[in-house]
Every structure is written in structure tokens, then in C-alpha cells.
Symmetry: C2
Subunit: 122 residues, 2 copies
């Protein structure tokens, strides 16, 4: 399977899986998360290969449509970019503080901020 | 109209409006955002009052169902809580830094972090 597509559908699935039917959710999970083949899914669920294929195609379409409307994956990527930026600035400030004994006590407080930012992305 | 419900639907609408039909979106906006009465919406859109009422009720149900599955409003409230916490800690650290001339130059860097956190919530 195409790695890029696996990553793309994986991210979409993480955000929007609750909006799929149980059957769609199961097939997408088996195919994209557990790397089952169409044949294996077909055998395991007692559905024709064509049926599995059609359900996967339909699910991918649905997931992309939700992303077009809600942009949750795009927003998450933006947030991760900002978080990385905050971490770099915190490291930067910490290095400055380490050179000044009077201010070194502020480092735990800074680390606290960094921790909260990490929570923000959960 | 009940203020609590107005706030609740307002928040849900902000997150999930793109998942409503255009007609649903228009009516919810007129009723909850622009404070139109059922009668006014009915007159403006050429729909019976009952029709407006039914569409609003259906839309509210849809919005709540999406929140039950995606929890976007709940997550946003959590994030705002964390952001407030970061701001308080930044103010706290800034006060400490103001007492030490050597470290006062770090204040702009801290404010930078706070600014990024604000971006995180957009």
C-alpha cells in the first residue's frame, strides 16, 4: 500500500472515525491500521472482496469530505507546529536562565508551561 | 430564549455548522445568532412557523449528536482552561524576571510563547 495514503487515511480516521458506521470503521481499521489485505478482510468478515473494496472507497470519500468541512487534521498539524516552536523557545530561555543563578529557580515554572502545551495537544 | 441554550447551541454551531444543510445553517444562524423570532424567520424565508420550528429542533439534535461523537466543544473548553493557566504562569515568571535586571531581556521571549499559545486556540 502507498505509504502516503496510509498516513493520510490514518490521520483522517483518527479524527473522524466516530462518524463512520461500525462496519466502515472496522474495515478501515483492519486495512489501514492493521495492514490486512482485501482478501483477509473478506475472509474474516464474510464479505466479498468487492464489497470490502467498495466500503473502503466509500469510507475514504466520507473521511475526506469531513476534513474538507471541519479541517481537524489541518488544525492539528498547525498546532503541532506551534507546539514545536514553543518547545524551542522554552529550551532557548532555559539556557539563558542557567547562566544566571538568581533566575535558575524559574526553570521548573517554564517546564510547567511546556507540560501544559503538551496537554493542549492531547 | 433561554440564555444557556443560546450559548450551548452557539458553541455547537461554531464547530459543526459546515455539517448542516444550507437551510438548517441559515435558520440556526437567524434564530440563535441574530435573535430572530420564529415568526420573523417564517416570514423572511417563506416557510411555515411549524417548518421553521421543526428544522431548528432537527438541527439542534444533529449538532448535539456531532458533539457526542467528536467532542470539539468540550476539547475547546479544555484548551481555553490550559491557555488561561499558561497566561497566569507567564505573568508569574515575568514578575520574577522584572526583579532581576540580567534576566529582564527574557521577557519578550516569554511574551512570544504566550502569543503562540493564543494562536493555538484560533
Amino acid at each position: 500500500m502507498n505509504i502516503e495514503k496510509m498516513v493520510e487515511i490514518g490521520l483522517l480516521f483518527e479524527q473522524y472515525k466516530e462518524l463512520l458506521t461500525e462496519k466502515q470503521r472496522e474495515m478501515v481499521s483492519l486495512y489501514y491500521e492493521e495492514d490486512y489485505s482485501l482478501g483477509e478482510i473478506s475472509e474474516n468478515l464474510g464479505v466479498s472482496r468487492q464489497g470490502v473494496y467498495d466500503t473502503l472507497k466509500r469510507s475514504e470519500k466520507i473521511l475526506r469530505e469531513y476534513e474538507n468541512k471541519l479541517h481537524l487534521v489541518a488544525k492539528l498539524k498547525e498546532q503541532e507546529k506551534f507546539l514545536k516552536s514553543i518547545r524551542e523557545k522554552v529550551v532557548d530561555i532555559k539556557e539563558d536562565l542557567l547562566h544566571n543563578r538568581d533566575c535558575a529557580n524559574l526553570i521548573p515554572k517554564l517546564e510547567n508551561i511546556e507540560e501544559i502545551c503538551r496537554e493542549l495537544l492531547k
